[in-house]
Symmetry: C2
Subunit: 528 residues, 2 copies
Amino acid sequence: METTGLSLIDGAPSAEGTEAFRASDPARGVAVDPEFFTASADEVDRAAKLADEAFRTYGRTTAAERALFLRTLAEEIEMVRPDLMERGPIETGLPAGRIEAETGRTVAQLRLFADLVEEGSWVDARIDHADPSRTPVPKPDVRSMYRPLGPVAIFCASNFPVAFSVAGGDTASALAAGNPVVVVAHHAHPGTAEIVGWAVIRALRACRLPLGTFALLQGRGEDVGVPLVKHPAIRAVGFTGSRGGGLALARVAAGREVPIPVFAEMSSVNPVFVLPDALATRGESIAAGLHASVTLGVGQFCTNPGFVHLPAGAAADAFADRLAALARATTSAPMLTEAIRKNYRAGTQRWDSCATKVTSTDDPDGPGGQGAGVAVFRVRGADLLAGRVPNGEVFGPCTVLVEYDSRDELLALAESWEGQLTATIHGRDDEVAAHADLVQALERCAGRVLFGGFPTGVEVCHAMVHGGPFPSTSDGRSTSVGTRAILRFVRPVCWQNAPTELLPAELQEANPLGIRRLVDGVEIGRTS
Amino acid sequence: METTGLSLIDGAPSAEGTEAFRASDPARGVAVDPEFFTASADEVDRAAKLADEAFRTYGRTTAAERALFLRTLAEEIEMVRPDLMERGPIETGLPAGRIEAETGRTVAQLRLFADLVEEGSWVDARIDHADPSRTPVPKPDVRSMYRPLGPVAIFCASNFPVAFSVAGGDTASALAAGNPVVVVAHHAHPGTAEIVGWAVIRALRACRLPLGTFALLQGRGEDVGVPLVKHPAIRAVGFTGSRGGGLALARVAAGREVPIPVFAEMSSVNPVFVLPDALATRGESIAAGLHASVTLGVGQFCTNPGFVHLPAGAAADAFADRLAALARATTSAPMLTEAIRKNYRAGTQRWDSCATKVTSTDDPDGPGGQGAGVAVFRVRGADLLAGRVPNGEVFGPCTVLVEYDSRDELLALAESWEGQLTATIHGRDDEVAAHADLVQALERCAGRVLFGGFPTGVEVCHAMVHGGPFPSTSDGRSTSVGTRAILRFVRPVCWQNAPTELLPAELQEANPLGIRRLVDGVEIGRTS
């Protein structure tokens, strides 16, 4: 399929942008056609205003209408899977199989949200009946449920060109809740974005929904995203990217005349804690699992395990050796963008200057242009606790082994981590049970605590929490993966003494949708 | 009961403060004993650190333990009801009956949250079972539920010395969720605060809970509250007060190294819309209801109806006359503080200079010191739309009648309001049904839409929403009244492949608490 290189507004390409840019092929280090055009200020304004107008219709669609739209969108995306598998790898350096998997995840996610809104109970419908005879004042009839916020600005993530981009997680949950979306494409994969953008437009047309419900803006976040976040019609922001980018958007959003919530997923080092017995008895398999997790997608995952705590000693030495051997056997692969590659090099160089290098296959001057190799460092827990070495994220296939000398030091290390998306413990069952204080410390700092395994490969399911205390996200009270994500983009609205015909179906006395509701304080389950 | 005038930290009075102040009696315009002492920087630090330490215990209490504590607290507050009814009116000018009613509301609220946590389903427990045979990768066991955030800073409200103060709404929901609280007393009613503060300490002692779970700090928000909100141990803020105060705290919280959420309930004019037939047939009773709502508590409610839209014409004239007659028959009563009285005067004077005065019984030089009378103004809808008259809140017994000339103007007026706690429609049923566009506009701008009646008198029940888009609150995605308020102070936490004995009871396979859970996408209702 041909891409136009233009922003998509009101269901059509918009040709007001004059500043051109091109995507680059990380594997070859060359710019690729076609030219894309940065959305103009007028285009940003038009997209936001159309979204606001569309909200009046789309925000009042029935659950069944939105479910049909999400399913139609999933089908439309499946139809362009070959196009995505062709264009995606060119723009990202990721293999076609990865793009295929992401596409599968994207459509599964859309269908999961379709199921959720169809089932309907997520709206948290509550009814407290009137009691006109109550004294001293009669009790009113009070009903409430979640309603959409309004147009949401969504930023495509560099590292998930499909699953966290145009029709990715935030878009799925925002649309499911009844919010129009204005998406800012990532400048590294604008063509992939446009392919999905057209799929959204086709789905809107097929479902006869207002075309203002969706727009795709091309250009960089600082040029297009900032004016969009400032636009009065925008009611919330979804972002996945760097700490600097997320904090900048949060500042812009907080500085508006009407501040709006920003859900920015930013940085996380996802600490792993290996207990002594686990290291002694399963060290080799843990090293293999760690290596696979660290190198997955050239380490470009927000859940990449960046620090691994091990008891100091011979077993730790063997672990490091094993990891080094695996690292040396790993083929270098290109990173998503030149900037990411540059930052990775700066990060590993910084570690090089302050820690013991276990191994580094990373060769800045090697073949492959943007290719990055694995880097493993080793540090004493005391140095980390004393702030003598960095504790921030190095985005890429790098991990740091942290040796602890005692149980107290292990706990102190666990307590020292700032907010994380994930924290992982490896231990024999009784060993983990004997470390309840460690588990509790990790529950306080992370959104997800894993017992065994590795944090990459976030399961898309109802119970998943992909979020965590600052700075892993800007607001740890929500998740970007799983059905609970729909709660990001809603607020409760209450009707008092409303005539039944003016109430949403979810709150009508007869419960026509048969959803679970809280009626006079008692939960009444689904009736169909 | 004697008050010490000191902040209460670690279950005891703390005597480090040196700067003294006294409450004043608004009815007599005199300062009253005893002296109170502004908490020192060290006291703020100590209270926050103790709360952080207490969180490790209190944050892991069982639902049954917290329910027992909340019920014990309710009983302790009932025991000091006579003290509150004696001290409250002296510090606030409110009648003893109002303090009694607020006390009843406070204990009912605590018991409602006790019921909620005892029932237990509020935690939104979710379980997705493992599937080890899934390809290409096995599916992990993923479980999640809401967990407390950590220590919460809570500011007492000037206008609710009991129900939105030391053990009021925010404290009840924060404690119910498992968060310690550090409360900043309102400088206008420090004695009332101390009485309730001791009740909290007695309840903690009776339940053998860490005394750091609660602290009460005396002093002004700018002196004590700002350092508290800046303290790294504090994880969230609850505030009810002025727009300036709320925005200042939001700025402080956003500027922290680790930003935290602020739930500030700020300003709302609670627009009322009277449709033609309702005015023609029920004008007199609507005027009587409006008068009662505007003058309740000397107009010092955040849900006070500040603007009332009426169709222009003879019926509006009659309505204004009726309201004026009722206003003239109203006895002036003292406002809570001198500052509030001064702001009220400034607000009515501003209206005096730009609108038609319907009536004003307010006499700045009259007897009663801080007494305030009713002020009613009248303005053309076109003037409001054109920005020729103010549209902000005048805190006190003042309301503005807005005359609209057409249905289009009515809708334009409804669309023009910024975020509100409430919006109210008066109309015959079929008349309201014919104004679906108006209803929809109000649903977009308000947290609660009333059909008939008036917004004051917020029902404490499961379905209530007391919150709304900015600037009525700093974050319209939550409520400060009703059981949904517990969601302010929690975040979802996820356990992956956890041994069952390390899981909270709510997530253990056997469901020992019998709560409603979402298991593999299917809701399983309560089992007991």
